[in-house]
Point group: C2
Chain length 141, copies 2
DNA sequence: ATTGATGCAAAGCTTTTGCAAAACA
DNA sequence: TGTTTTGCAAAAGCTTTGCATCAAT
């Protein structure tokens, strides 16, 4: 588990990955974003910082980072795989299908739900990054 | 909400859709399957019953049925959109990321979770068809 | 008769892959 | 130096779309 003061290089080596510019840049971008990002958003963010990498490289980097558990990967709609940097605390989201906004979801509620599911079904929910769809109470869009 | 004795034609007309062979066939296939299906599985199932429709038609039919709330649509992995017939009772699933198996999830647990989320966040979770990832307790794959 | 659905073919997108050149350890 | 990663280009999937034809109401 990465700590706040680690450099991207440290984080990568700590996970057994080589520290390359592409991987460092992607990590910086993900860390700088509070929310999750699609692949194209990651690519745009990289370009806006002056970093240019081939899309296949970005895909491979995200896959590598996901493979060692540094980023969480979710799928909402086809062609919209989203990635998020995994920090110490779990991140869960509510996504409004009406306006598209993403809101934080109280981890405590999720933990209770997970505990119940485990007790009832013997199933360990992967809860590093849940994205749950619905509609905001006051959504007028 | 469709009842058990309605024909596909009734169901379609009740939802304001024209009753066409393609739509009736897709409904029959989805109804006959207890689990959710990918688009290619729907196409295969249609062919195994002797029905042949263009893939674009199947996509459009599924989209139409989803639009009027007759089927639920979820995305698990890219290029793997899944569809399921919506019956009276809600269907929720646990999907094991290790072996790929899909298990039923107790609706009661989901209802409690949804109630909590609504109370805490004022967010109405779309709970006709949840798919939650994780690992089975005894999964050895 | 009108409106909507289907088939066909082609395009659009996201994602993956092969391979030589370059970078890391 | 040996191994891994990157860029490039092309391919592979899944999904969507335009349009003429056909079917449903």
């Amino acid at each position: 588990m990465p700590t706040a003061k680690e450099t991207s290089t440290d984080v990568l080596r700590g996970s057994g990955l080589r520290a390359t510019p592409a991987r460092r840049a992607v990590i910086e971008v993900l860390k700088a974003t509070d929310n999750h990002m699609t692949v194209s958003e990651v690519i745009e963010a990289l370009e806006s910082v002056g970093s240019k990498f081939d899309q296949s490289t970005v895909y491979r980097v995200l896959s590598d980072l996901g493979g060692v558990g540094l980023v969480a990967e979710s799928r909402i709609s086809p062609g919209d795989t989203i990635f998020e940097w995994i920090s110490q605390s779990n991140h869960h989201h509510l996504q409004c299908t009406s306006c598209g906004r993403t809101l934080p979801l109280d981890d405590q509620l999720v933990q209770e739900f997970i505990a119940n599911v485990h007790e009832r079904h013997g199933f360990h929910v992967n809860a590093t990054h849940l994205v749950i769809s619905g509609i905001e109470h006051d959504c007028s869009v």
